[in-house]
Amino acid sequence: MTLNRSNLCWLALAVITAGYLLFWAFLLGATATYSTPDSWLKVLMSPEIRHATWLSLVTCTLAAGFAVLLAVPVGYLMSRLEFRGKSWLDAALDIPIILPPLVVGLCLLIFFQTWGGKLIENGFDVDLSPIEVPESWRPDPPLIRDEENEFTHEYKKPSQMGDHWKHLLHVPGFPFTYQISGVILAQFVVAAAFAIRTMRGTFQHLSARPEDVALTLGCTRFQALWHVALPAARRGMVAAFCIAWARSLGEFGPILVFAGATRMKTEVLPTTVWLELSVGNLEAAVAVSLFMVALAVLVLVAVRATGEKV
């Protein structure tokens, strides 16, 4: 191959790319040499780390799944419909991306201290009364002893019993603060913004013309989305899931503030790194960090390989 100007250009670009990858290889290499494989294995097999690993995998997958479920309708709306104030809404959807992670956690924590948040966490009572109940349906008054020490039903006037039955239906709450559900919510809040951005880009790159044709062939707008746009956007959905999953795996700030860092309860892998660092156990922190890198690469390669086939 002769070294002409075009080749020189490619060579320069390749050097820049290789330089960047080399920088990362040095970073990871230096981290890896800090400890030995034996000590990695010992750390990773500890019950706390195994729990954190399991919790990370489950919460990341759920958060990414919920993020894609939200990102598809929002991304479709933002890519297909023109309306007044769209640029403002667009900016609002990106807020979780630009907010410092700790602030996201703080916002969640404060929200669940408000009236609305407490309602979600504690549940609420619904007063189903007044419901008219016929006299014959009412139970007998409680048995009491009369003056001759015989059991008798206590006499009460209907007005004393009340003309209505009071029924309180309790709608149970769903606790988030310092719970596993809080971990998922904290991951979802940030991951959803990235998933929305990916899905919006995917739909923008897909021509709307097939959906228009589907409308003339008998589809409603929802059917056109379901039968035409979604199958065409399946690779974008896989990409959105990958990004949301990776983002969730690395999430730390909001989880720490909102869900806490309780061992064997709300501890996920990034929290483990922080906990180990805070007690000066650098070897364990290194082992978990490298494990996270391996886990992320493994899952993303697997999901992307699946995405290539769909």
Binding site: D212, V213, A214, T216, L217, C219, T220, H227, P231, A232
Partner: protein, 216 residues
């Protein structure tokens, strides 16, 4: 019969269609010509219901359909890029509309096979759009539109991507389809030879206005 009654369409201050009034009789093959960007596609989209006119009415067989959704108009539409559904096989593309309308599987298969035979695409039924040539895609798009059994067919430069030899073949096919299915066709084209070969009625759009051309 298609009737456009004082149709106007504006975007901002720009008038794309200015008081367009025309009647195209049933079973007529009408060709519409005009320079790029003069509003031909906009007119087709208003007819389909994909775009609402700023003012005016669209009547199909004397019924005002201006406020009806595209699916309620009984119009087949083949856009310029053909817009085949990505990821669906030819069989599914053609069977899309009948399946949506709840046609039983046996009848659906018969309808798909009959159209595939008619358009010479029977050997392609299990292919995806990416594995079809330009001419094959055009036939699939036509078969897909006709599977919905429309009364009116709108074609937006459907032959623009074909080479000369395939174009002549496609012209014959369109003539045959129009007469066999007793369709009213509105065909947008830039090609004078295509218009001459196909059109019973020649329309020209210029400056947002639509005029009927008389054959020399």
């Amino acid at each position: 019969m298609i009737q456009l009654d004082h149709i106007t369409w504006k975007t901002g201050d720009r008038v794309i269609l200015a008081d367009v009034t025309i009647a195209i009789p049933a079973n007529t093959y009408a060709v519409l010509m005009g320079s790029t960007g003069c509003g031909k596609t906009t007119l087709l989209e208003i007819l389909c219901g994909l775009r609402s006119p700023t003012s005016g009415r669209v009547l199909l067989d004397n019924v005002d359909v201006t406020d009806l959704e595209p699916r309620e108009r009984g119009i087949g539409y083949v856009p310029q890029d053909l817009a085949l559904f990505p990821g669906l096989r030819v069989r599914e593309q053609i069977g899309f509309a009948p399946k949506l309308r709840g046609v039983p599987p046996e009848e659906l298969n018969q309808r798909v096979n009959r159209l595939a035979e008619q358009f010479g695409i029977a050997p392609l039924l299990d292919r995806l759009p990416d594995m079809l040539s330009g001419g094959e895609k055009q036939r699939v798009a036509l078969a897909r539109a006709l599977a919905a059994q429309p009364k009116l067919l709108l074609l937006d430069e459907p032959l623009s991507a074909l080479d000369e030899s395939m174009r002549a073949e496609a012209v014959t096919l369109l003539q045959r389809v129009q007469s066999e299915h007793s369709l009213t066709v509105l065909h947008v084209t830039h090609s004078s030879s295509e218009a001459a070969a196909l059109g019973h009625l020649h329309l020209r759009m210029a400056g947002g206005r639509l005029e009927v051309e008389t054959k020399a």
